[in-house]
Amino acid sequence: MSSRIAVRVEGVTFLYDQEPILEGIDATIYEGEFIAIIGPNGGGKSTFLKLLLGLLEPTQGRIEIFGLPPAKAGGLIGYTPQHLHHNLEMPLRVIDVVLQGRLGPWKFGFTQEDYAIAHQALQRLGIPHLASQPIAQLSGGQRQRTLIARALATQPKLLVLDEPTAAIDIQGQRHIYQLLKELSITRIVVSHDIKILLEGVDRVFYINKELYIHRNVSVDLDPSGHFCEMELLEELGRSNG
């Protein structure tokens, strides 16, 4: 981890219909950090993400991604949306979806290099054999891996994943967390799955309208391997650690 700043969020408030969704958010994320964003549904996690991605504009405050406003920083960000349910019947192969990561405003076709990068991304996700599979025939987990491969194919400096393991079985989850651990770029992962805290994250952002930042969250597993998510979440929402 370096001390160079990847993401700077200053005094960000976001109102929707006069209703505050996020309030007074300040955060700095350093290059190479692995950040987990957790919090209750409707607490503003997705809104925070959309602000970072430049899909929404803050009502107040300022965001910089590697010194750029988010709307201009898209080329540096690899993004995986929450499981796409629609458009499953579109006639696309897995490789076509991953190649979307190579597209740009003035780029209208793909080079040999783009194909090589896309295939490499599929390799990393462990699904090179699915390259010419139509997306209509994928399982939920395979689809999610395809979308993560697409994010990696953008060769990002910042990887933003929204619930990357939601549709994936335990085995697949382990694989994806392992991959995230191996990457050295800045990573921001939104998860409703508290297990992510066990997966080598550097800091935890708990978002519930306001932001609570925690370092070294200790998750105490009792001998049966069970811990109470509710208690932990409440704890995270109380103190600024």
Partner: protein, 262 residues
């Protein structure tokens, strides 16, 4: 059969040119789920028929101007207010037709068959119509040659396209303009109402059998050529209205395609 081809040379040429138009515009329409927008442009453009008759302009010019205006308006509305879009689209659709009916009523001495503009007549296409169809095919081919990846990415995941720096509003508008162009070019041959069915059916059948967008467009062109030529032949053989036989052939193809689903 030979006589059929000799007698209807221009009509068959129109059918083949239309197949390319339908395949490209229809496939783009389908993957973007914008058939409602296409239908609104097609029906609303009836206002252009009225405008042309009222002002004594060529019909195609009236329809073209009206379709262009509606396309820009619809592009803006569906982009800016997606959650209210359906309601506004329905309004535009109805208001356009209302303007058409009113202006035609006010036009002096007009008695011709308005069904021609709603259903077209592929047997009456002129050389100019063929030229317009060929030109439109050329524009559509050029557009997907350049922008296909942008259109596809936009259709699949709009947020991702935006983050990649693609000009989403521009691409969205271009797509709707292309739909409007396709509709205007086919008014004389298939009419404002039939065109929406023809834009929908062949690409729909093709999509379910295709692995890629390219395949989808190719198959859609083959299906629309098949439906139109079969429909024309039935019309010739049994002396029936061609627009009806074409659309019923396409409808039959649609039902058959639903049956054999893997």
């Amino acid at each position: 059969m030979g006589e059929f081809f000799l007698l209807f040379g221009d009509t068959i040429a129109a059918a083949l040119l239309l197949s390319i138009l339908i395949a490209i515009a229809g496939s783009l329409m389908l993957i973007n789920r914008s058939s409602y927008i296409a239908a609104a442009i097609a029906h609303g453009s009836y206002g252009g028929v009225g405008l042309a008759l009222y002002l004594g302009l060529p019909i195609l010019l009236g329809v073209g101007l009206f379709a262009l205006l509606l396309a820009l308006l619809l592009a803006l509305i569906t982009y800016r207010f997606p959650q209210r879009a359906e309601l506004i689209i329905g309004t535009i659709w109805a208001v356009g037709m209302g303007i058409g009916i009113l202006l035609i009523h006010l036009s002096p001495g007009y008695g011709a068959d308005l069904m021609t503009y709603l259903f077209g007549n592929i047997l009456l296409v002129s050389r100019e119509d063929l030229l317009l169809l060929a030109l439109t095919d050329g524009i559509l081919l050029l557009a997907i040659a350049i922008f296909r990846h942008h259109f596809i990415t936009l259709a699949y995941d709009r947020d991702f396209a935006k983050i990649r720096g693609i000009w989403v509003e521009g691409t969205h508008t271009l797509l709707i303009l292309l739909l409007a162009l396709a509709i205007v070019a086919s008014v004389r041959a298939v009419g404002l109402i039939l065109v929406v069915a023809l834009l929908s059916i062949p690409p729909f059948i093709a999509e379910r059998m295709s692995k890629s967008f390219f395949q989808m467009v190719l198959l859609a062109a083959l299906f629309s050529a098949l439906f139109m030529l079969t429909g024309l032949w039935l019309s010739y053989r049994f002396d029936l209205p061609s627009s009806a036989t074409i659309i019923l052939t396409a409808g039959a193809g649609f039902i058959l395609s639903l049956r054999k689903r893997p």
